[in-house]
């Protein structure tokens, strides 16, 4: 009985660590995507400024 309970509770452990990894991964991925997009915008704008001058 105790072993069954232990196994059942281990699911909470797996989900808790999963939640942490998914949350952190999504945040890092979102930041990286935003950074890439901004760098593309920056390059395009720098080109435009050069042409403007």
């Amino acid at each position: 009985m105790s072993e069954i309970m232990g196994f059942k509770n281990a699911i909470f452990l797996v989900v808790a660590y999963g939640v942490f990894w998914v949350g952190t991964f999504l945040y890092v991925m979102t930041m990286s995507a935003r950074q890439r997009n901004l760098e593309k915008d920056l390059e395009a704008l720098e080109e435009l400024v050069k042409k403007d001058k």
Binding site: G6, A10, L13, A16, Y17, M31, Q35, L45, V49, D52
Partner: protein
């Protein structure tokens, strides 16, 4: 341009978190009452620690912004609030997943949990209210004042386990010894547990620094884009 410091920090963070996982699952002893599910505790405490550290960094940056009016401090404060809010959310979720098998409930309006919920809402409001102000200087000034005032919730959350009735375990609870002296009890049954927790806290602090650096870089790039856009329009 290659960001060597950022790469080194990311690698160090990954190594530290991988080592923390090994310590949590292979080195720390099994807690006899809660069994395996107790291992949530190591990451839960470390994640909440980062949340509160982030809000402390926001407090300091906000004070520095009000003193110097330098945009860099506003960027640090904003970046730190965002990371703190994320980690406090993860802390609440991992805590809830720990509470379900141990307390037989996902959530209870206990003193510690309630004060954490208040802290979380207060800092979410920081992000929402900030977005509602258009003028950049007003936005930064308002955020700095809010960032200072809202820090009141952090010591309140810590103190809640000492002064209010709570079922949440106190990690560093003061107790009165038989001789009448005050002593601190970590509540951990084994030195290995204490060392594992300390390692997790250090590892997550490095993760926080890495994320903060990334977020600051993002905000600086956004500033450069905005400046160039203005230059072109003007």
């Amino acid at each position: 341009m290659k960001d060597t410091t950022g790469t080194i920090l990311a690698v160090v963070s990954a190594v530290l978190v991988a080592t923390a996982l090994v310590l949590v699952f292979l080195w720390a002893p099994l807690e006899m009452t809660m069994k395996e599910v107790q291992r949530i505790f190591y990451f839960h405490v470390a994640v909440d620690w980062v949340g509160f550290l982030a809000f402390f960094v926001t407090l300091v940056s906000s004070i520095l912004y009000l003193r110097t009016a330098a945009r860099k401090w506003d960027i640090v404060a904003l970046s730190s609030v965002e990371i703190g809010a994320l980690f406090l959310t993860l802390g609440a979720m991992t805590g809830s997943l720990w509470a379900r098998p141990v307390w037989n409930t996902w959530w209870t309006w206990d003193a510690r949990l309630t004060t954490v919920a208040i802290t979380w809402l207060v800092y979410l409001a920081y992000l929402m209210l900030r977005g509602a102000i258009d003028d950049p200087q007003r936005q930064a000034r308002f955020s700095a004042v809010y960032g200072i005032v809202s820090f009141v919730t952090v010591p309140l959350t810590f103190a809640s386990v000492f002064f209010l009735r709570t079922i949440h375990p106190a990690l560093f609870a003061a107790s009165t010894a038989a001789q009448g002296r005050m002593q601190f009890d970590t509540g951990l049954g084994s030195a290995k547990m204490g060392m594992t927790l300390t390692f997790c806290v250090i590892a997550f602090t490095v993760v926080y620094v890495t994320l903060l650096r990334m977020r600051i870089k993002l905000e600086r790039t956004a500033d450069r884009v905005a400046r160039l856009q203005q230059e072109l329009v003007g």
